[in-house]
Subunit: 127 residues, 2 copies
């Protein structure tokens, strides 16, 4: 299987686990030292425990049952890869979120070392 | 020079160009097909022209004169790399932004194909 196909399979499995609120599967192929830039505060969540806590919080959002990646773009080299995708996780047509991941191949397996999730701010908001 | 050192030099030059509102230098080492997930809408800006328009808009923000990367973390493999960093771009101690980049080496030169900029949402905000 190509690196890209392996990463795509991991992403599919991970998104399905989010929809199922299956925390154990969500944590698979995540680095113990993962750094998460999540939609809500804190600024950054460091380590697997903080990453897990973010998901627990997110399960309170009904959009988590719809969590789906679109326009997934995977760039994989020899041992390092990154991913960008659009995130559908709401019943309203708008807004959608954005996802970026940084990965490294460790012991022959792709591991996510970084995730960045966000929603764009409406122009004129946040002033 | 190592790949990591090359990328770090590019980042320093780029951040200085943002502070100087030097659009030409900001656009260096950016792919014509760059995809930008910026702080404000749109959801994604595709291509160099849309990327440039986002910076023009951002120059109206006084924080752009302070634009500085902290805790820069670079993971570079053979031809593919990604970067995460904390962004200081405001006079207030809080909040700070987050930056993730996806890069590829093209013709011996590191090129940014993707950027994701965001601020975390305060818990209780946006409801």
């Amino acid at each position: 299987m190509s690196d890209e196909a392996e990463i795509r399979m991991m992403l599919d499995r991970w998104a399905a686990a989010v929809r199922a609120h299956d925390l154990e599967t969500i944590l698979e192929q995540r680095s113990p030292d993962i750094v998460m830039f999540d939609v809500p505060e804190p600024l950054q969540a460091k380590g697997l425990e903080a990453y897990r806590d973010g998901w627990k919080l997110y399960f309170g959002d009904e959009g988590s049952r719809l969590f789906e990646l679109r326009e997934t773009h995977i760039v994989a080299g020899d041992g390092v890869a990154w991913v960008r995708a659009i995130l559908r996780c709401t019943t309203s047509p708008d807004p959608a979120g954005r996802l970026t991941m940084g990965l490294r191949k460790v012991g022959g397996r792709w591991v996510v070392e970084h995730e960045h999730h966000s929603f764009p701010v409406g122009l004129g908001e946040g002033e």
